[in-house]
Symmetry: C2
Subunit: 332 residues, 2 copies
């Protein structure tokens, strides 16, 4: 990583600096979409702020995850790309690795539970990946993945806890600042912390006064507790519709960056999240997945005191949701 | 209207020409959104065409109707605007007239059935309009509207059958050609024919080889039958989820323009429409209402033979739909 990486408040050397985000931007140019920034008069009126939505639901594979996966795979040696890459995920990271590998002439093996939704298995195979399924009750996926990686010489592409992954995700915020200039606040969802780490690094460099606010589901508030206590906290398979935020904890790479560059962490309930998601659908006419509405929910629920007229960025992280699931949540 | 208006194939003088669309464009500049044109690799692959979606679901009030309403109201005399305007609609036209009147310093009276969804009554009032409700079983809305217009000296803004309205709607296609150049096909939904009339006039002027295809719901196929027979056909309150296409017939202004400048008319079932709508939601991450998905459904269902690689425009006409209604349709 860069020589310019800083140290966090407890003295640990941070895994990445803005130079790494800028490098990722160059790598992603022409491959990732430069997603649109949308605004809404009605939302500005409702919030009393000037709000800019960075719409990663329009990113390739429908979520920001493509950025980190492509950046990470592109940094592998030619020989490693020839051997292939591996990921275990049943979510957006699976499709991100599958597509990025395919674009970079590599082969992806994705480990998914055998009861994953058929639509996700099909979509991942559709991007050219080999899907290896396992029985959740009989197999520990990490062990299966390690075994496959070893047998076939595959490089594991982690979903968030890697400097190249976090740097790639940070290009979302970098593009936002590039397009709209400095902001007073930036709301970002938090699962394993890859997106917010990269975005906070970009904010620190490009809009130093900007306060970065992480938003988590109430049921999976491990990152909020970790942030408040300064000690890594965990949660086990939290019950939330925000499937992208069901991660057990922040990581060794992301936690120090969050402690150093994030200003506050807040939580929203699933009911608030569903309401925010439908509000974005019905007012902005964009399809947003629950995790993708976390940042907006934090804003709409006024979880942070902001002066009138504040310039606020909101990362809409993804849009991969089955409408039938939304109907179930509405009926519940 | 312009001196350059042509005549239709049966000799009637057409109500508008491209000059009227160009005039409308100048009137709308800075007031209507120039909506985005979106593309999708997956949809190109699926259709074998290069498809450009003109996204009027991102227009003000969430539908193209704002264009026609604003253009029509802006052409009224100052004195008339002082007295006010009137519309009867429980759909997008109501909100379009309400917002356009408010922006132009006029006052709108909107006649709506008393059992219209509360959200629509509230939204229309939210744009500053006076809503007059009536009992559908006891009152003929046209009579009530005529009486109100007479008593208060209000100008009626018709939903489609007026040259200024159709010219305003045509700016949607004009912007599309302006952005992407000539097209081989343009798919447009048809209710009363205001949108397709204006768009066909724009296509004829800006991309003369472009074939304009109208798409209707099967249950409300009056415009298709009118087009095929050359005689105005009607249907009564058709049973379709495409509420914007429940109009009884084309109009005196729109029918001749459609006969002259539209190349074919096709229909799709509600099941095909729902599937197309959800496909647009899940692949393009945009919220589209049923009527707004008609044009896309005509393309996806291959209702017209097109050569591989054809350049195809699709007007996504609006995005005002209640997700709870979608859940009902899915469960039906």
């Amino acid at each position: 990583m860069s020589d310019h990486a800083g140290t966090d408040r407890i003295g640990t050397r941070l895994a990445l600096s803005y130079d790494d985000v800028a490098d990722a931007q160059r790598v992603l140019a022409g491959h990732a979409h430069r997603t649109p920034v949308l605004t809404s008069r009605q939302i500005d009126t409702r919030t009393g702020c000037r709000v800019f939505f960075k719409c990663e639901n329009f990113q390739r594979i429908g979520a920001f995850k493509f950025r980190g996966a492509f950046n990470a795979i592109s940094r592998l040696s030619h020989a490693q790309r020839e051997r292939g890459v591996l990921a275990y995920s049943s979510g957006n990271h699976a499709q991100a690795v599958a597509l990025a590998a395919s674009l970079l002439g590599s082969k992806a093996v994705i480990v998914m539970p055998q009861d994953a939704p058929q639509v996700k298995l099909t979509a991942t195979r559709g991007y050219g990946a080999e899907v290896v399924t396992y029985d959740k009750h009989a197999t520990v996926r990490e062990e299966l993945a390690a075994q496959l990686a070893h047998q076939r010489g595959l490089a594991l592409i982690p979903p968030y806890d890697h400097p190249h992954v976090a740097a790639g995700q940070g290009t979302a915020a970098q593009e936002l600042f590039d397009e709209v200039g400095a902001l007073d606040y930036l709301f970002v969802c938090v699962g394993g912390g890859g997106l917010i780490s990269g975005c906070a690094i970009a904010a620190h460099a490009l809009s130093p006064q900007c306060k970065v606010i992480g938003v988590e589901p109430e049921a999976g508030d491990d990152a909020t507790r970790s942030f408040k206590t300064g000690t890594l906290q965990r949660c086990h398979n939290p019950d939330t519709i925000a499937d992208g935020a069901r991660t057990p904890s922040l990581g060794a790479v992301t936690f120090p960056m969050i402690l150093r560059h994030v200003h506050d962490m807040v939580t929203v309930s699933d009911a608030q999240l569903l309401q925010a998601m439908l509000y974005l659908w019905e007012r902005m006419k964009i399809v947003v997945e629950p995790t993708g509405a976390l940042a907006g929910a934090g804003l709409f629920e006024r979880k942070v005191d902001m002066p009138p007229g504040a310039r606020v960025g909101v990362i809409v992280s993804g849009g991969n949701v089955d409408v039938r699931d939304v109907c179930r949540w509405l009926a519940a």
